[in-house]
Each structure stands twice: as structure tokens, then as C-alpha cells.
Point group: none
Chain length 221, copies 2
DNA sequence: TATTTTTTTAGAAAATTTTCACATATTTAC
DNA sequence: GTAAATATGTGAAAATTTTCTAAAAAAATA
């Protein structure tokens, strides 16, 4: 689940990224409008979080620009919830509005609401075949046995399992599970697949992740 | 358990904070309305305590403002229990009302009533695995042996134990166990975890608090 | 003021992620 | 069918990130 944070203040952006990563998101940050706009238009983010310390006109324009071409939800973080600005921003296609400083819990509540992923889903288990993922516990099990997965392995396996019965291309995996700084020529994806497979084989399942040469990977129910 | 105290008189606020801390709460204080409103709206407090020495209109407005956006309970401390004011305040969404002077015990009784967890706050023991917390005695035991925990350590361990079997992110720990002034870049959290672990290891349990790298900590039953 | 508690600091240790060199498999061209 | 080209798999090491640790500094408390 990849999202973009746009903020002029690098510290703000990095704090947000750290917290959002703990929640399992893949986070790109842009510390100016231009880069923000570029990233927003050239990637498929599930959500954009936008710091309104940016100059007013710029941020309104930016929202409109993004919304003309993408249907991605936008959350604005603002210094003061000024009514006029607020209305203007909603007109520009903003989905939600949060006055600073806010608690991270509050932001997460808004994010869940917008992504239409109520907290319940987070508690729920994701099950395909013998494998069960529980993201609240950050626990993966195969035939009841615990798999000791790292954060990246967990995210990768989760992505594949959410797309069970379909072939997922390397490109889309890299786009959703890695952030913008990932090296597209490396084989880190293969390395991670390898290590998940090894852990699965060790515990139970020998052919959970199938390779579709030239295309990508697939998990079948 | 984080709460907010709003009072014009700094001494009052600090006295309340001290007493409430002794009861195990994490307490933010605001010595004017503006900051009070600001904190109330931007944090997830379990309770707001409100000194009515503040100008009447202000406090009514403040309550309404907070209640429009938050469902947090509010207790008002008033110089005289004037009936009219009282009614007006209840209209504004106040949950309880206490005329000064009052005993702290009395305030705590109201707090317990409002939080609708009369036992859990003070009387009940919290038990996970070998570890038992008794917040009434402020006593932590592992296999019957007493652990000499500081207040912060106790609060941190309690937070983790209340969320047993789930991964608790560093961010959410910082938000719930530390107050607004905590530095997000420090590693005071790790330092406290370390010192709890050392005390636990000394007495009994070697792997009570697990680290989930990149996410946070977890206690399993 | 003396004592305890909390926070900060900085370097060590641990864990994770990436890279690399080469192995193996698959596809394509002949 | 075979060889070349392409794509993926593999294990180990390097690089990076994250967490741990101990000790000193700062703050709170008695």
C-alpha cells in the first residue's frame, strides 16, 4: 500500500514517513511542490498526504492538477482550519482536512476512513490455502506453524496473497511493495521471494508462490 | 491513559497534574483557553478536566467547540455550583461538574465513574503470562516477585500489556505513554524498554517484550 | 540539597535489505 | 534439437537500517 507525503518541511515529512511505515505503508516523500506533482502524476498512490504549510495558491493548484488526471484521495494537513481555504480546497478535490498539530492516531483514523479499510479489516486475518497472515499481530502462519517473516517479506507476501489467483507482475510488485528509491535493476525482489519460499518450505508448503516466467508471480488458492 | 487539564491558574493545573500522575495518568496541561482548545482538538485524550475559573463564555464556547469534534468526556471544576451555569454547561456537552473546594478523592470518584471502568483503573489486576500489574498498589510482580518499576516504566509496561497479542508501534506508544512535549527523535522509549527488560530478566522472564523490527513491540500471552 | 527518575548521547550489536557472482531454467532463433 | 539470449534462482557478503546498551546529563522529586 503505497502513499505519497508532500511537505515543505523535511522533518515533518520524515516523521510522517516513519510512523506510516510502522503501519505497514510504503511511503514516498516530496519536499517541494514540483517533485510532489511529478511523483503524484507518475505513480499509482493509494493516498496523498499534503502539508498545507505550502503556499496557498500552489497547494490549491497542485490538488486540482493531480485531481484532473488521477482519482487518488488527498488529505490536507493545515496550520489552521480556515473556513474559506477549506471550502476552496474541497472544491479542488481534497478528501479530508486535519488541523496541526494532530495526533498520529487521528491521522490514521482518517486514512482508514478514506481507504475504506475500517479498523476491523486490520484485525482480520488474510488466508490463502495453508497460509494465514495477521497484520495486527504481524504474524504469519502456515498449517498453524509460525513463520518468522521480516517486514518486507511480510509486505510482499501480503501483496501476493491479496492478489491471489492472478499473476502479479514484477513491476507492479516493485511499485507497491517498494518505494521510489528502489533500484529497478537489482534482483532484491527475487531475493525476497527466495527467502519467503525457503521459510514456507521449511514449515509446510512447497509450491505456494509460483513463478510465471516473463510475467511475474502467482499464488493460487 | 492520557488526559488534559485546562486551567488559568498554573498552580491549580500543576497540583492536579501531580495528583493525577500519581494515579497513573499521563497529563498534559494548558494554562489558557486557546492552548486548551488546541490540545483538546489535536490529541486523543480519554478525559478533559476543565477549571471554570476561566471566563464563563469562554469555557462554554470551548466545551461546545471540543464536543462538536470530539466525543471526549469533560469534567468541569467550578467555584460555585451555580444552577444556571450548570445547566448551560450540560447543554454544552459537559459530563460532570464539581464544586470547589473538593477533595481529590472525590474528583477521582467522578473520573472513575465517567471512564466507566471503575475497577480497571485502580482495583483490578492486569495479568499477562507471569507478570501481574496492580495499579492500585502500583506494584508489578513476576512469578510473585516484586519488580521495582518507576512510574514511566510501569505506564509503558501497562500499555504494552493492555495491548497483548498485538504489535504496538513506537509512534502509538509515544502518543499514549509520553505527553505532548516528547521528542520524536530520541530513543528514550528504547531506554525504558531496556530497563524494564533488565528488571524482568533479573526476576524471572527473559523474553516477555518482543521486538518487531521496523514496527514496534509485542507482548504475547 | 540529595536522591531518584527520565532523557540524551554515542557507539556497539543485531537484524534487515540489497548487491553480487554465478547457477539454473526458460524462451527464442536458427 | 541445439545454441544463444533472456529471465529467474541461489547463497553469501556488503551495505544499510534499526535496535540495544551503558553511561552521562538533565530534570523531577523528596
Amino acid at each position: 500500500m503505497r502513499i505519497l507525503v508532500i511537505a515543505d518541511n523535511e522533518t515533518t515529512a520524515k516523521c510522517l514517513r516513519t510512523s506510516l511505515r510502522e503501519e505497514g505503508f510504503v511511503v514516498d516523500i516530496a519536499i517541494d511542490c514540483e517533485r510532489g506533482s511529478f511523483l503524484a502524476l507518475t505513480n499509482d498512490y493509494k493516498l496523498i498526504i499534503f502539508d498545507h504549510a505550502l503556499p496557498r495558491k500552489q497547494s490549491k493548484c497542485l490538488c486540482q492538477e493531480i485531481r484532473e488526471k488521477k482519482s487518488v484521495p488527498i488529505i490536507i494537513l493545515s496550520e489552521k482550519a480556515e473556513v474559506l481555504t477549506k471550502v476552496a480546497l474541497f472544491d479542488a478535490g481534497v478528501d479530508d482536512f486535519l488541523a496541526k498539530p494532530f495526533s498520529f492516531e487521528e491521522l490514521m483514523a482518517r486514512i482508514r476512513a478514506i481507504l475504506r479499510r475500517p479498523q476491523k479489516i486490520k484485525n482480520q486475518e488474510l488466508r490463502v490455502g495453508n497460509v494465514i497472515l495477521n497484520s495486527k499481530k504481524h504474524e504469519a502462519r502456515c498449517k498453524g506453524q509460525l513463520l518468522q517473516l521480516t517486514k518486507k517479506e511480510f509486505a510482499l507476501l501480503e501483496y501476493l496473497m491479496r492478489h491471489k489467483n492472478e499473476v502479479v507482475s514484477r513491476t507492479s510488485i516493485l511499485e507497491h511493495v517498494w518505494d521510489i528509491d528502489s533500484n529497478p535493476f537489482s534482483n532484491t525482489l527475487e531475493a525476497h521471494i527466495r527467502s519467503i519460499r525457503r521459510k514456507l518450505e521449511l514449515k509446510c508448503d512447497n509450491n505456494f508462490i509460483k513463478t510465471i516466467p516473463g510475467i511475474g508471480y502467482k499464488i493460487e488458492k
